[in-house]
């Protein structure tokens, strides 16, 4: 599914990723953990094509296709979805309008027919119900005046609606209380499937009690410093990132 080899990337003059390699097969969930400033968010932006993140060396491919040469929207159409750490507010655009525009743009890019208004509504109601969301929230401008938890839930809602193949969750647990965390984690777990892969970026182990990873990678100083099973997350929770930060 996702294969990253020797990735170097910089933001302005600073090199943030310094030779990161990672293989994420379909059907698996990998967690990326690391101290602040290790490059976790940079990795998510480089994979999704945000401007200002310059790749200087290395490759990232999705099912063999070079991701890095595609525009951000083309990557989305191929199934790459980023759940933002800080979802943006879009004043004046109702959440439903935004999502339907996005969905149809993706369908168009893949040469699929547009989704009808009725089918879209039906699906939206169903998914909103699963995530215990107030359906009226979807008629309001996207994320405007939403609480931190509501914004994260809206991210998972969009993810479930767009049905991506590669899901990148950037600090999805931040700003969530324990009840909201469970709902969001349930929403994410419902999307686990043999033809999907997930990259769960998190600072804390807490989220991984709910979204159980197959592998845990420690990202320190711009590269993968260690890889292990779920037990690695517990070790990090006990001992902190110090030894990896020092080793780097």
């Amino acid at each position: 599914m996702l294969s990253i080899k020797n990735l170097h990337a910089r933001v302005e003059a600073a090199e943030i990723l310094k030779g990161l390699s990672l293989d994420l097969p379909a059907g698996e969930v990998h967690a990326i953990m690391g101290p602040n400033g290790a490059g976790k968010s940079t990795l998510s932006y480089v994979l999704t094509g945000k401007q200002g993140y310059e790749v200087t060396q290395g490759t990232a491919t999705l099912d063999g296709e070079d991701l890095l040469s595609l525009e951000a929207n083309e990557r989305a159409a191929r199934g790459v979805f980023l759940s933002f750490q800080y979802p943006l507010e879009i004043p004046g655009v109702p959440a439903m309008t935004f999502l339907r525009t996005a969905m149809n743009a993706q369908h168009k890019a893949r040469g699929e027919p547009e989704i009808s208004a009725t089918d879209f509504l039906k699906r939206a109601r169903q998914v909103a119900g699963q995530l215990k969301m107030d359906f009226d929230m979807l008629k309001r401008p996207l994320n405007v005046g939403f609480s931190g938890g509501e914004k994260k839930r809206m991210e998972i809602f969009q993810m479930a609606m767009l049905s991506p193949r590669l899901l990148i969750l950037d600090e999805t647990d931040s700003g969530l209380d324990i009840d909201a965390l469970k709902i969001v984690a349930d929403g994410v777990n419902a999307l686990r499937s043999p033809d999907r892969a997930m990259l769960v970026i998190t600072h804390y182990q807490r989220l991984l009690d709910y979204i159980r990873p197959d592998k845990v990678h420690v990202l320190a100083a711009g590269r993968i410093a260690a890889t292990g099973g779920p037990e690695l997350a517990h070790e990090l929770e006990r001992e902190g990132y110090d030894k990896y930060a020092r080793a780097a």
């Binding site: 929207n73 989305a76 933002f84 879009i90 004043p91 655009v93």
Partner: protein
């Protein structure tokens, strides 16, 4: 110094110039070396941007009124929706027109006003007076669709009686040079004013929205929301002045002007002014000029929306806040479509 005086006297030295403080960003004297010849009689067959909306139409072609001026006089308790079209139909000519609308106490008028340039390179002046009796209501929706090479000035002078309600929304995509100005004499005494507008300016077009409200008495309300989107080498001008005279206590006045610059060579000149000579007033103004939020743009692209479409969606939503405030349902949807057709960037 006004365009209307210059046209009457056929004298370019009467044109306002950058030396007039209120015209420093919309210089006409420096632009016009010679007045174009007076416009001939002409006709306009096509319908205007409001189509068949409303009950009646008053057409003004090349400065000549074709229709019943009485449509603009609304009797006590009466209400109507009228299209008022100013059509400039002949290249390299000039014309002016003066009209008065009189709303008796309790009268209601929705005015669907349009400026339509059907030929390039004209010079047009429209001088409008509105008198609103006690409790009368006027909603004025203006779509200014001048030609890129046209020069167009419109001045609306509005005089309100106590309890009157004046609301307007002016949308424009500019012209070679264009000013749409509104001056309101506000008596306070529960009279209400809303003066909104939006400019969508691209290429080398110029749009100037200038407003002045004078609160003469206590207990008056004025609110204003102006938004602009400027691309290419376009220029947007907003001058908004709210004066609260001595004794106009408990005036509630709010002004907001927000503009997006979509290119390095686009320009916005803004002069918001609150002149307050009374105590116990609630007045506020906000003024911002910035670029489109790049993070919001990336967010939309990450969901699969191509960049150009994302930009259009975000700028349309930005202007939409002004359009949403139009009260007349039909006019609001016409305005929305009009703005969508003229989206810039």
């Amino acid at each position: 110094m006004t365009l209307s005086l210059a046209l009457e006297a056929r004298d370019v030295s009467q044109l306002p110039s950058r030396r007039d403080e209120d015209w420093r960003w919309t210089d006409l004297r420096g632009l016009i070396r010679e007045l174009p010849v007076p416009s001939p009689e002409a006709s306009a067959d096509a319908s205007g941007p409001f189509g068949e909306l409303g009950e009646a139409e008053l057409l003004v072609v090349n400065g000549r009124v074709q229709g019943d001026l009485g449509l603009l006089n609304v009797a006590e308790g009466e209400q109507r929706v009228v299209r008022l079209r100013f059509v400039s139909a002949t290249q390299a000519t000039s014309h002016g027109v003066k009209l008065t609308a009189d709303l008796k106490p309790g009268a209601r008028l929705t005015l669907l006003e349009s400026y339509e340039g059907l030929a390039p390179d004209y010079l047009v002046d429209a001088d409008l007076s509105f008198r609103l009796g006690a409790g009368a209501r006027l909603e004025r929706i203006v779509l200014a669709g001048d030609d890129a090479e046209g020069v167009s000035v419109s001045l609306a002078s509005v005089d309100l009686a106590p309890g009157a309600d004046f609301a307007q929304t002016v949308l424009t995509d500019g012209a070679r040079r264009q000013r749409l100005e509104t001056r309101v004499e506000h008596p306070g005494q529960d009279a209400k004013v809303r003066m909104d507008g939006a400019y969508l300016v691209a290429d080398r077009r110029h749009a100037d929205l200038t407003t002045a409200v004078t609160h003469a008495g206590a207990d008056g309300e004025t609110e204003q929301l102006i938004k602009g989107v400027v691309a290419d080498q376009g220029r947007g001008v907003f001058q908004g002045r709210i004066t609260v005279s001595p004794g106009a206590d408990r005036t509630d006045a709010r002004m907001g002007h927000h503009a997006l610059l979509l290119s390095d060579r686009a320009e916005v000149n803004a002069k918001p002014e609150l002149l307050i000579f009374a105590d116990d007033v609630a007045c506020a103004h906000g003024n911002t000029v910035g670029a489109l939020n790049e993070d919001a743009l990336f967010y939309a692209q990450q969901r699969g929306i191509p960049e150009a479409e994302a930009r259009a969606m975000l700028t349309e939503a930005f202007i939409g806040e002004v359009i949403d405030r139009i009260v007349h349902d039909g006019a609001r949807e016409v305005a929305r479509a009009w703005a969508a057709e003229r989206r810039v960037g």
